[in-house]
């Protein structure tokens, strides 16, 4: 099966959104779920969370940041071209406990935070969003977040180039102290999720994190995406990707995410050579 790219949006130098034709998937997708892309015959299987979907028009969207060889190749595809394989929806949808929510998104995790915030609002909840990034240029979907009927939109950047200077835990701590929220959802880099969890724990605040380990099949068969939660081995693909963030073994997740760092460099060089130079021909 092949899936046509209907629309390609570029948010920043390295952040893109694809809208692809996938009518059956669009009927079933729910916030917090993900899909797995295999770009072409030689491609690897890579998971991306749904950013948006439309059952009437028969499309789904996902946002990705160029962080390695596969995302680099993917970013070179244009509207009208096809992605060879897309599997989904996978994983459990985010549980929408009624309440006063704070949704935290860091870096490319903002692409996941956005549909979750929107779904929480649609379910009648109050939602505050904290956006975090290293610097202004890495903030994505800011306009889209601004258009949502949020209680509050707080932006933090490590270098102070936009919003508050610092990290997401400072505003999170204030919200906890003010009892302005009673549920937290966090998605982003491991340190961000880990420290958000530690902050919430201090205030007995429930916090769910959406985890992003390396995956292969995405259906619970291979065990690649296993994470330790509350001392138990869980599979992010079928038991998650959402887990109680205070119970996640972050060191474990971080180590496993780095399993192929060396290979990733080799793949990147390979892709760059394919793209321009002729040294392998």
């Amino acid at each position: 099966m092949a899936f046509e790219i209907l629309e390609k949006t570029q948010y920043s130098e390295k952040v893109f959104k694809f809208r692809v034709h996938a009518p059956q998937m669009a009927k079933k997708a729910q916030a917090g779920q993900f899909l797995i892309v295999r770009m072409d015959e030689t491609g690897e299987r890579v998971p991306f969370t749904f950013a948006d979907w439309n059952p009437e028009e028969g499309w789904v969207e996902f946002i990705f940041m160029v962080i390695g060889a596969t995302t680099e190749q993917l970013s070179q595809l244009q509207a009208g071209e096809e992605i060879l394989d897309i599997t989904g929806p996978l994983g459990k949808p985010t549980e929408m406990v009624p309440g006063n929510w704070c949704v935290i998104g860091g870096g490319v995790g903002l692409a996941i935070a956005y549909p979750v915030a929107r779904a929480l609002l649609a379910a009648g909840n109050k939602v505050t969003v904290i956006m975090g990034a290293r610097t202004k240029d890495l903030l994505i979907l800011t306009e889209q977040f601004r258009e949502l009927p949020l209680e509050n939109l707080i932006i933090t950047t490590d270098d102070g180039s936009e919003g508050e200077k610092g990290v997401v835990t400072a505003p999170l701590e204030r919200l906890c102290q003010d009892k302005a929220i009673d549920q937290v959802f966090a998605v982003g880099p491991v340190p961000m999720m880990k420290f958000s969890a530690l902050t919430c724990e201090k205030y007995d605040m429930p916090i769910t994190a959406s985890l992003n380990p390396i995956m292969v099949d995405g259906t619970g068969m291979c065990g690649c995406c296993r994470v330790t939660v509350d001392g138990q081995t869980k599979f992010a693909c079928v038991d998650g990707p959402d887990f109680d963030a205070t119970k996640v073994d972050w060191a474990d997740l971080s180590a496993r995410q780095g399993s192929y760092r060396a290979e990733e460099k080799v793949a990147m060089e390979h892709v760059e050579h394919e793209g321009g130079c002729k040294c392998h021909s």
Binding site: M221, A255, R256
Partner: protein
Amino acid sequence: MPLVNGKYKANNKDPRVPANEVPAEVRAHNFEPVDTGYTYEDAIEEANRCLDCKRPRCVAGCPVGIDIPTFIRQIREEDEEAALATIRDSNMLPSVCGRVCPQENQCEGSCILNKTGDDPIAIGQLERYLGDQSESLAKTPVCKPANGKKVAVVGSGPSGIACAGALAREGFDVTVYEAFQTGGGVLTYGIPEFRLPKAIVKREIDGLKDLGVKFEYDAVVGRLYDADEFFNEYDYDAMYLAVGAGLPKFLNIPGENLPGVFCANEYLTRVNLMKAMLFPEYMTPIKHGKNVVVFGGGNVAMDAARTALRLGAETVTLAYRRTEKEMPARVAELHHAKEEGVRVLELVSPIAFEAGEDGFVAKVKLERMELGEPDESGRRRPVVIPDSEFELPCDVAVTAIGTNANPFAEMAADVKLNKWGYIEADENGRTSDPRVWAGGDIVTGAATVILAMGAGKKAAADMAEKLLAE
């Protein structure tokens, strides 16, 4: 054909025609087939050893009851087309089963020649030989006219394939839904190329397409589709659930989640399905360990160990808590693995993995075991020897200790499960939902290709009987 007074007289005292195996030192470094299969002459010579028993034990030993003496006689009579048709009456996948069935526990283990001190007939080799001729022999059998009934088969592994093929022959409109990008299930992601070339799996799937079976890939039933949708919107009359065994089991010891520690399913899927041995031309990476330790004693453990060798490991150790005698693997696989240089370490059990400075697994701690009283499985239970700890260097570890039930069984349809999460189904594959049949590993727990196929075939026959009577 050896004749005495015009009557066939078996050459059963002749030694069994040996397999044509590539030398171990060559094959251990590539993914090419280990055994190139019988030639025509080999097949005739081996067929001439068969006693053609009146009451053949081999047939009783075959889980799907292939008429073995008849197909062997047809080989002898140089009618390969008829011989293949005989097998296909009971088994749609002779090229696959000839390669992966544990013949020593089934047909060959039951062969009467074992009792007379002779080598049993190489039934697996003969079956494989015929299967491999199928391109030059008769095309796929003709289907009955369309009967107007639609069936959704979930999973394209051996059970799904067998069911789909049998239903198509009966005139059903069949679509197979597969979660992966290509078909074959465990035949594709699990069993390595050197043991079962993927071209053969593809040929079997193409054969089903010739019968009119449709395949939808990237389709995770239970997420992308569900049973209600199948019955109400897509007008299916029945469903066959063959989603396979799922979640790998773990050792549950410290360090098991370190990078470099794999479940066999992941290790094999990266190589077999995603072609990680061709990285970076293929984008999926795999760890190339120097000192690889594989835990387990089944076929999956053998496949992982032999794959590690082919990925360039300097040492590959197969660590097993019982002895070689108790290993559930096919005899041929263990034999091949050892020939290729896999070291078998019996009576040991891992207690922890430890990381090196780079954070990747660097060694494994084990303890020695001895065999005690037999357990429920009838095998002698391994018992720890106190103070017997030792270490092995290990930069890639692969665990192959079995699987638990697939969670998609429950998501795909509302059928009754047993306490372990497997689907409850009767001998014909009927489940608690009268529109849903099930078979293969999702009913029995991890078993063999041939049993899964047998279940698919039985369910197809039962579906035909029930649906066509409606």
